[in-house]
Amino acid sequence: MPNSHLLLVLGMAAVTYLPRLLPMLFMSTDRLPPVLKRFFDFVPYAVLTTLIFPEMLFSTAQPASAIAGGLLALLLAARGKSLFLIVAGGIGGVFLWELLF
């Protein structure tokens, strides 16, 4: 492997690890002001939503199949099915849609 590649990979590794590590080490886990605590309670919901929408629509060969699979996953999730079944259902939904249409 050329040295330039090694330099690139090591540089990328350092700047990727730091934002992951620093808050983990230094974020105080005891009492936060209530409003900040509420803020952090909401973070997972907001992050998940930004990850799903709108990228999900373009995650498969055609938006229609992504919507079909996504709706199936949503239906399974709303009925309280297991995560594994939801993922399998979503993948299966896309597979069938693209096979049939």
């Binding site: 492997m1 952090f40 909401f42 939503t49 929408f53 199949s65 597979f95």
Partner: protein, 244 residues
């Protein structure tokens, strides 16, 4: 004690399987792209082993192929991954006090997907063994997929690749929905986020031009701040996840 820890690790790995399945085809695509751009297998595999960040690895290979300098690629990587700062801070709160070496190990595995699983799941998800299991499954999916892709002659069959493209999104939906039942506050935050995401994707060009990593962070901060102002108190039946 030891068996308890191993059980938690294996349970974590099992729970991380959907992430591994989601990562694998993406990693295969990354390996193929790296090879197509003249990066040897050892470079792309080492990148996946040490960097473990999907989007920025794709960007790095593309920039490298266009002759961009090392410093500029590293800076771009940093900007793309700044969002993990917010996720790591949220996870740190949920994990409570752990020895620094445990935290250092767990921190390496923070990705959008492992964060989503760990921040949303039930209380057991705070067990370091469980966290390590989830991270390991995701990591193996990513590294093994890269290895496969950089050695493959052709990509995965199109139909298979397309269907598996939905895997991570289906998982996100599965993680998100249970927390929305009976919580007006969470529903409101999700609604705000959907609106902001739509504007950021199809709004004025100066907004749509912002990189995805920044969009995630900016939208999250705005939506969560509004949520904290609109719903300052915890709702009934909520909050059991946060009991320290």
């Amino acid at each position: 004690m030891r068996t308890v820890k191993r059980d938690a690790f294996l349970t974590g790995m099992k729970n991380g399987l959907p992430i591994a399945f989601g990562y694998f085809p993406i990693a295969v695509a990354f390996g193929l792209l790296a090879k197509a751009n003249g990066l040897p297998a050892v470079t792309s595999i080492l990148m996946s082993v040490l960097v473990f960040a999907g989007a920025s690895q794709f960007i790095a290979v593309n920039l490298w192929a266009t002759g961009t300098g090392c410093g500029e690629i590293v800076l771009t990587t940093f900007l793309v991954n700044m969002r993990h700062f917010l996720m790591s801070a949220t996870l740190a709160r949920r994990l409570g006090s752990q020895p620094p070496n445990v935290k250092a190990l767990i921190a390496f595995g923070v990705t959008d997907e492992t964060f989503a699983l760990l921040a949303m799941g039930p209380e057991d998800n705070r067990d370091p063994g469980f966290v390590a299991g989830v991270n390991t499954a995701a990591y193996l999916g990513w590294v093994l997929g890269t290895a496969a892709g950089s050695m493959l002659v052709r990509g995965l069959p199109a139909l298979l690749q397309s269907s598996m493209g939905l895997a991570l999104y289906a998982m996100f939906i599965g993680l998100l929905v249970p927390g929305l039942k009976g919580s007006k506050a969470n529903l409101t935050v999700v609604g705000l986020t959907l609106g902001l995401s739509a504007v950021a994707s199809w709004g004025p060009p100066w907004l749509t031009a912002i990189g995805k990593g920044w969009k995630i962070m900016i939208i999250t901060v705005i939506a969560c701040a509004l949520g904290a102002l609109l719903f300052p108190g915890e709702e009934e039946g909520e909050g059991e996840k946060d009991a320290q």
